[in-house]
Symmetry: C2
Subunit: 306 residues, 2 copies
């Protein structure tokens, strides 16, 4: 079952303690689609400028990602420039150039409209809503957002959230949006906005899942090979929804597995700049790391206390 991913397509200039890279492939939709593509067919919609290197489209094609929803229009591709300090938990933006995004009118190819699994990657919530109005009867719509939209387009954000099944955001954003430092309380408030479930991404601390059916805490992976955290949240979401689409199973048990799959993909994505680690990632490595996540978090019951 194919998954549709809509979001930004960009060229990033990134500086971390491990190096500086100029105009490398990035964007929320790209990181998500590449992670999803390990689990089945994925399709991307978005916009790129006429300067977008053909090699990137070729790479997406090699991964069997349908790029027919990427509009290429005259002008420059979206660009983000940022840096991470020593602790790498926080991205600092140097510059954002929307470029062709200011002229972007989401128009999904007809074949994309009956997708059953849709991921609205981090993106302007007004555009997210326009995309959502074009899909027919999806089984699952997931969306991601960020502090910029919480601060600047709160109303539009509320509107999209009302129509999605699964909302993803990071811990700082959940606290800020719901105005409470307590994550379980923030999650309870977010669920009242409409979604069936909420995932709070906590970076090095794992992820939390909240729904009216239950709670799940995904473990921290002991990652000591972090080189560039850009795209971690997108590859988490992409792996998650790609796995759900590939297995076409929305049971709570399968959602838990999908959250671990997302954690696995994010843990690889941050080991190198851009999509470089994903380009050389193998199925065997994924399977092994999933087993590690399981081994790292299992414990047995205690006997009755005397």
């Amino acid at each position: 079952m194919s998954v549709l991913i809509v979001g930004s397509i960009g060229l990033d200039t990134i500086e971390t303690p491990f190096g500086k890279k100029q105009d490398i492939l990035g964007g929320s939709a790209i990181h998500a689609a590449v992670a999803a593509s390990f689990y089945g067919p994925a399709a991307v919609a978005g916009v790129a400028g006429s300067d977008f290197p053909k090699e990137h489209l070729d790479f997406l094609g090699q991964r069997k990602i349908d790029v027919s929803g990427i509009q290429i229009i005259d002008g420059k591709t979206f660009r983000w420039s940022g840096y991470y300090e020593f602790d790498m938990n926080q991205a600092h933006t140097r510059d954002t150039q929307l470029n062709v995004y200011t002229r972007f009118k989401p128009e999904l190819p007809e074949s994309f409209r009956d997708c059953n699994y849709v991921f609205l990657a981090n993106f302007d919530p007004e555009l997210q809503l326009k995309v959502l109005q074009q899909v027919k009867k999806p089984k699952l719509v997931a969306m991601d957002t960020m502090n910029f939209w919480i601060e600047n387009k709160r109303q539009a954000l509320h509107k999209v959230i009302r129509h999605v099944d699964l909302l993803l955001l990071n811990d700082g954003e959940a606290r800020q949006f719901m105005e409470t430092p307590n994550l379980p309380i923030a999650a309870a408030r977010l669920l009242k906005l409409g979604p069936k479930s909420v995932i709070i991404k906590k970076g090095e601390h794992g992820a939390l899942y909240f729904s009216d059916k239950g709670y799940f805490s995904a473990p921290s992976y002991p990652q000591d090979q972090l080189r560039d955290p850009t795209g971690a949240g997108d590859s988490f979401a992409g792996g998650l929804i790609g796995y759900l689409a590939g297995s076409d199973d929305l049971s709570e048990d399968n959602i838990r597995r999908a959250i671990i799959v997302g954690s696995v993909m994010a843990s690889f994505n941050i080991e190198d700049f851009s999509l470089d680690r994903m380009k050389r990632l193998t199925r065997r490595e994924i399977q092994e790391r999933f087993s590690e996540f399981k081994r790292f978090s299992e414990f047995e019951a205690i006997g009755a206390l005397q």
Copy 2:
């Protein structure tokens, strides 16, 4: 099997968004001993002043905690006064009065010296070392510390750490002490200082265990009833070592269970001020919450990727 706990015995004045309490029972050894006492006999060593209310000693006695190692000397009991802001992740110290601690000479009762399980609760590392020299052949020595000692008695701290089996500290302290923002790297460096294993306590984010035999990530409990975080780390450690002593089993599987037991005890301790929640805590509640921790973190394997 009895567990010996040495650390501070104090009267705390605490302000949180949920209220202000004056001169309530506190101290690292007290929080730890009470948590440990749910799993078997515990003994406390430390010092209190002549103003220490008899009702507190009575309470410890009711919990079958051996208080014969608590020296009562003329003068005022150790006092700590602090507050927590809205987010309650960080304790802010208003005032610390060492009082009788300045005259404390650790002198363990003879019957305490052949304890098999010893916990050096957060405390001056020079005093921790003096205690350690008095115990004979313990099966396990665990210790906790805090930023104050990392900043002010680093050499003494290194000396004690060399002699303990299990080192506990929180994530901020691990990063500060080992001068890296990366927790797995900090843990690897801490292990080089001598201990067989390291536990990094992350408050709302759970706990991480590192040893040369493996890694374990304990889940976050979705605690929305937090009223006073004081003593969370101490009750975590007390529950952990109390459970290890009670079961007298140092296998990796049992250490994992003990970490969850510690997490359970900490999650209860923070639901009310001082030891108030522990005073009304039942075995059935502990057992149920342990099961919740298990349910909240379990997931199944994925099939082979095609």
